[in-house]
């Protein structure tokens, strides 16, 4: 998939930069990165225009990642966008919760660029 638009939602600006770097290191052709510090900002960004990929933290102030996932369900712009959660919460119940709320994948922090590639690339190949 060429020149994708990615939304990275995380309350940590440093983590958003790390995720972006991992995507580029993974050889994913990123055209544009939009950053959001919580779910509210994330939903606003999706309303501005559709994304090809969304990566979201879970633990965030204002609106957490699971509420963000629920909010995305109501947006036409997000219908075909794969969402991958990137979080320190590695518990099975949280993974199940995120997947049943519509996430397509789950990456636990700390992670390697290879892990990001492994989870994200198959979602992009099947997207178009």
């Amino acid at each position: 998939m060429k020149g994708i638009r990615v939304l990275i939602v995380d309350d940590s600006a440093v983590m958003r930069k790390i995720v972006e770097r991992c995507l580029r290191q993974a050889g994913i052709d990123v055209k544009e990165v939009i950053e959001a510090a919580n779910g509210v900002e994330g939903l606003a960004a999706v309303q501005q225009g559709p994304m090809d990929l969304i990566l979201s933290d879970i633990n965030m102030p204002a609106m957490d990642g699971l509420e963000f996932l629920q909010g995305l369900r109501g947006l036409d712009n997000a219908k075909n966008t794969p969402v991958v959660m990137i979080t320190t919460e590695g518990s099975e119940s949280r993974v199940v919760e995120a997947l049943s709320a519509g996430a397509r994948g789950y990456i636990r922090k700390p992670f390697t660029p290879d892990q990001v590639k492994e989870r994200v690339s198959p979602l992009l190949d099947g997207a178009r």
């Binding site: 940590s12 790390i18 633990n59 518990s91 119940s93 922090k109």
Partner: protein, 164 residues
């Protein structure tokens, strides 16, 4: 708190000798993967924690307590710089952000290593304090797991205070 967490937290996790080893392993993995630096346990450990940057993450569920990571501001800037791919953080807030995330990942990675804890304990958003002139008061006298590490020759201390 979801139902399974409430159920599981009925049985409190109790620290044993393995927790210190698990904590060291959790810290080393986070630093290897996110900072690109191999850090080692301090030998001998310093007498008391020092440094002007402290990050705290609350834990609730089968384990209730606070994980605290402390290092000097210089060390914190170095860690943040490496996390940012060699770009020095523009502001103190970016340094705090980086140290907060490190503490969050250490707490998450640690609980994932303790049997029965991963699913039964949740983490708070991290808080970072800058400055050396502060005291921490706990209501109960808590059990502690403390680990002193060496990051590029400089001390880095992680303590887990377990309440209740």
């Amino acid at each position: 708190m979801n139902r399974s967490l409430a159920e599981r937290s009925a049985s409190r996790a109790r620290p044993d000798a393995s927790w210190q080893v698990m904590m060291q392993a959790a810290i080393r993995e986070v630093f290897q993967l996110m900072v690109g630096t191999d850090i080692q346990p301090a030998d001998p450990p310093p007498e008391s924690p020092s440094g002007g940057v402290s990050a705290m993450v609350g834990m609730a569920g089968a384990l209730c307590g606070v994980l605290r990571l402390r290092c000097s501001e210089q060390t914190a800037v170095s860690i943040a710089t490496k996390m940012l791919g060699g770009h020095e953080p523009g502001a103190l807030s970016d340094t705090c952000d980086a140290i907060g995330e490190i503490s969050n990942m250490v707490a998450g990675n640690f609980k994932a290593k303790i049997a029965g804890l991963c699913d039964a304990c949740m983490l708070s958003v991290p808080t970072v304090v800058v400055g050396v002139d502060y005291d921490v008061y706990s209501l109960a006298s808590p059990e502690r797991v403390e680990v002193s590490m060496t990051y590029e020759g400089q001390p880095l201390w992680v303590g887990l205070e377990i309440s209740s």
